[in-house]
């Protein structure tokens, strides 16, 4: 009995395997118009309506499963999209930052057209700002090791920013032009009359160009630039550096004075250029002399004193 069962089982297996192999061989060997292909097509013709019916009947089930699948897929896509958005946002911020830095550096390269070739510009990044409203000093990441000295003029792509107030090996503190200790010899546009630009008392965003001759021409909107000379001598600042724009004219005293809005946005400083002076140059001598003055003297009239002594 057992042998019979085993024999039957093995026979069935061999039969089915042989049948499968025969089908496989015959199907593979015949052309697409062969008999087995025809049987397959006939079978499909018969079951096609059934498949169609089953397909329609089972559509809700399929849709249900698809809905779950699509929901999961949508969730994973959402997570991917959020990641991608965050990545692109970071890239955008980096790009904008680089673009801005590039523009600033590009503008700084044009400074040589203003006659600053006697100076050796050192590009520095602002690393610290006074945390109060007045923004009169900032710190930069370059110092003595880069050739920066006290009283070196500092500019950015918009115009004059200030001067170096203190310097250490790898850093420096800048006095902005709105600092009360600052005084810059300047003139209006193409006029030859010079005056002194100082911070306006009580307004940290405004400057005052004073000591202009009463007959000096001054119109609102004109540009104020450094004169490069003061009291018959040379200024610490090279001539032609943009300081700001005239906003109003005051004529109530013997001297004319004008209000000047700084060209440089002192609240948004990022990259600046320190115009360092090479050893032995005239600019270097001016700078050293100004630096050697006592701090009381190097106040508002520091530039005048320095230029007077050099000139003398």
């Amino acid at each position: 009995m057992h042998d019979k069962t085993v024999r039957r089982r093995r026979t069935v297996l061999v039969l089915l395997v042989v049948l499968s192999l025969l089908l496989l061989t015959a199907y593979f060997g015949e052309s697409s118009n062969g008999r087995l292909h025809g049987v397959q097509r006939d079978f499909l013709t018969i079951v096609s309506p059934l498949q169609d019916g089953a397909n329609k009947a089972l559509k809700p089930v399929r849709d249900l499963f698809s809905w779950f699948g699509n929901t999961l897929h949508a969730k994973s896509r959402l997570a991917q999209s959020l990641k991608q958005t965050n990545r692109l946002r970071r890239e955008l911020v980096n790009d904008q930052s680089e673009k801005r830095a590039y523009r600033e550096l590009l503008a700084l390269t044009h400074l040589d057209q203003l006659g600053v070739s006697d100076y050796h510009p050192v590009t520095a990044t602002v690393v610290g700002k006074t945390p109060n409203l007045w923004y009169s000093t900032v710190n930069i990441d370059k110092g003595e090791s880069s050739g920066i000295q006290v009283n070196d003029p500092v500019v950015n792509e918009e115009g004059l920013v200030g001067k170096v107030a203190a310097v250490v090996s790898d850093g420096a503190e800048l006095d902005l032009i709105t600092n009360s200790s600052m005084g810059v010899s300047a003139r209006i546009g193409t006029s030859t009359a010079t005056g002194l630009v100082q911070p306006k008392v009580g307004d940290p965003n405004d400057l005052l160009l004073g000591y202009l001759p009463a007959n000096a021409q001054a119109n609102i909107g004109e540009y104020v630039v450094t004169s490069g000379t003061v009291a018959g001598g040379e200024s610490l600042y090279p001539p032609g550096l943009m300081i700001g724009q005239v906003t109003s004219v005051n004529e109530e005293s013997a001297y004319k004075s004008v209000n000047v809005h700084p060209a440089a946005n002192l609240h948004d400083l990022d990259i600046v250029q320190v115009l360092t002076t090479g050893a032995g140059t005239r600019a270097s001598g001016l700078s050293n002399l100004a630096a050697s003055l006592p701090s009381a003297q190097a106040g508002n009239s520091g530039e005048q004193l320095a230029s007077t002594q050099v000139g003398g």
Binding site: R8, R9, V12, L13, L16, V17, L19, S20, L21, L22, L23, L24, T25, A26, Y27, F28, L36, V39, Q40, F43, L44, V47, L50, Q51, A54, N55, L58, V61, R62, F65, S66, G69
Partner: protein
């Protein structure tokens, strides 16, 4: 095994296989899970073998394979060959080991799916069909086995439910049941 039981089993098997076949073609094949589709037909063949024995398993495998090959216009005989072997091996597993563990359907289902997927890929490759042997193929095989293992339990329950009452009596299981129910737990306890 009486003729009526055989007939009933045959009818139930045929009806269930046709329903599963259409469900596979109409629904399951169009719902990808983890990028692959579950294959209920290979599970059906494996579980029929596990429930009914090697002869019925092999016959069922051949018939289901032929149905799939005909309905999907595939190479005739290819799926039949693989499913015949799967049905037979699963039937032999029942006849030799008769596994009763709760994870048996999972293991058998996963194994059957692996044999079906790898066997199909190998056969296609041997027949010269341009099947790309790549990491993607390996991934599909692995994920296919995983998905089939997940659906193995419900498929096992469905198959048992569909064939219940028409399943052949297993002599080994009958002997074991009699031993437990008549108190003859061990030959050592006999006088």
């Amino acid at each position: 095994m009486s003729a009526s039981v055989n007939g009933s089993l045959g009818l139930r098997l045929a009806a269930f296989a046709v329903v599963v076949g259409f469900f596979q073609i109409g629904v399951v094949s169009e719902v990808p899970v983890f990028g692959v589709n579950a294959d209920l037909t290979s599970l059906l063949v494996a579980f029929v073998g596990l429930l009914c024995g090697s002869t019925v398993g092999a016959a069922c495998g051949f018939a289901v394979g032929l149905f799939v090959d005909l309905a999907l216009l595939q190479t005739l005989g290819l799926t039949s060959l693989i499913f015949t072997l799967i049905g037979y091996w699963c039937g032999r597993l029942r006849e030799l080991r008769d596994p009763q563990g709760p994870f048996t359907p999972l293991i058998v289902g996963g194994g059957a799916s692996a044999v079906a997927l790898v066997g199909y890929s190998l056969m296609e490759f041997m027949l010269g069909v341009d099947a790309p042997v790549s990491f993607e193929l390996l991934r599909e095989v692995v994920f296919g086995v995983f998905v089939n293992t997940i659906v193995a339990l419900p498929m096992w329950a469905l198959t048992r439910r569909a064939l219940e009452g028409a399943l052949p009596e297993d002599p080994r299981r009958r002997r074991r049941r009699r031993a437990y129910t008549t108190g003859g737990l061990s030959p050592l306890s006999r006088p």
